[in-house]
Amino acid sequence: MPTQISTDVQELAGIETLMDMLEFRAAKTPDREAFWFNERSTDFADLWDQVCCVGTHLQNMGIGSGDRVMIVFPNGHEFFAAFYGIQLAGGISVPIYPGSGIKRALSIYTSCDAKAIIVPSDTPDELVETYQAAMKSFGGNLYRISDCLATSRAANFSKPDPDDIAFLQYTSGSTGNSKGVMLSHRNLLANLRQMVTAAEIDNDEVIVSWLPVYHDLGLILMTMAPFYTGARLILLPTTLTRISTWAETIHRFKATFTAAPDIGYRQLVRQVRDPSKYDLSTLRIAVNAAEPIRVKTVQTFEQMFNVPNFTKPCYGLAEACVGLSFWGLESRPIKSDDNGNVAIGNPLPGVEFKIVDGSEEVKLGEIGEIVFKSPSATRGYYRNSDATENLFWRDGFLRTGDLAYQDADGDIFMVAREKNIIKQSGRTIAPREIEELVEDFHEIRNCAAVGINRNDLAGEQAYVFAELRLAPENIKLGTADIARRIVREIHARLGFRPGRVYLVKKQTVPYTYNGKIRHNDLKNSYLDGTLAAQGRLIYPPVKVPEND
């Protein structure tokens, strides 16, 4: 039988670091399941034991206070021992997306001047050798987690202070421009308390997550919050072969809490044929965050699975650990404006927002950049003083780069990010307006719209990249028809024709870990000819220069 526990607010209040948190759990609720993955559970005693083994190994290898150690793990059993083991040894964890190419991995490795890399037990020898060869010129060691776990644990550790950096949260981006957000134990505990309080997460919660454990929402809200409260965590791989596994898992474990970016819910409502097979009514909260929320997704999801008002919009960003706002627990539908922008809910306890233009606040109702203050706010980007300087607005507020306005009721609505806005023939178009409409075509899986300026008479024009659901050979007939219907629909609904509609192969539209479209990367790979060279543009045909 798992230990019966009641969350003791006072005891939790004494926790100052992530190490305190795990040690507290191991002492207080040792045989309670810390997390479940792939039909196997790890309890809190085992988790802490593993963390201690990794910490010991690293300590023995000379890793100490403030040393950066990069970890490259998918969702699974091994991530947590590595992530927290580094911190126990006094180091700073640098988790990166396991699908990062070796080039990006090494660019982060060098930019944070890491001392070592830890990789999963089952990393193929060839890959280990490739890494080791590439690391030679930078120094540092590579460890398989299995070697770390085989070490017998030491009795003493130089545990971190609350203000020590726990990990560097690298924001996604193309090679070279990634920024490592410094998050201290104090920042993280503050954010955990803010989110746990606002969403009333307690130890009865059953949390289902397929979000990446190496990044903000999937790491902090979905795995740290249950470790903090002692809630049950059911972890799935990020690479769900069928999105219906998510619904199936909620049903199977009678989950009460889940989260995903809008794209997760969009895929779910499109792919599940028979929603009556899944009972999602045990859910208390279905967080929709990290990507612009679409009213239609929420409505379809709630109707299809009969979960009215379960969707809770949230807003946050890596610079605040993760969460900054939450829609609230009361049963009420999401709120949207005439342009389909969705309200982000109430600031979490201790969070303050302002909407500004330049150095001044805008008037109520006007669009400006949203800035925030929170105990969870980062002190800056690791070894990047220029970016850090730009991050701070004034009076202790941090910039977000996100645009928003506040309505008369005080609700804040996010509008599209300025840098992605398409200015076509005197109009201002948010990519989302086009993307939502195109994704309504049943032949289309995903879509992204970007502004392209060829310096011709037309000026900037919207270029639409629509991923076909089927392989092109299965729809040879009719690609032209699909492309033309898309143009007609955009013209009929939005009043202009896009500069180009390309039907593209699946997985052409690049996403961040959290499901935000990387518009700029898509645009660049179109402009530099990469998309054409890779044969990703299915229709219309592109003439590739013959001498190339």
Binding site: D456, L457, G459, Q461, D481, R488, I490, R500, P540, K543
Partner: protein
Amino acid sequence: MAKYQDVVDLIADQLGLSADEITADSRIVEDLGAESADIANIMAAAEDRLGIKIEEDKIQQIEKVSDLYAVLTLD
């Protein structure tokens, strides 16, 4: 050199029409409903798809589908 059908397809794709709505005599603006940005986009598409760049000063000469075909064929 462009084939006539390529030119029809290109216009149909840019304007969201089906090919059978387009004849050689169709006037691109008056009959097919193109706006000025659409014309520029048609020129850009001709360059990308057929590899033929139309000089901006030639655009004045293009009224009908057949004119566009002629410009693309002569160059």
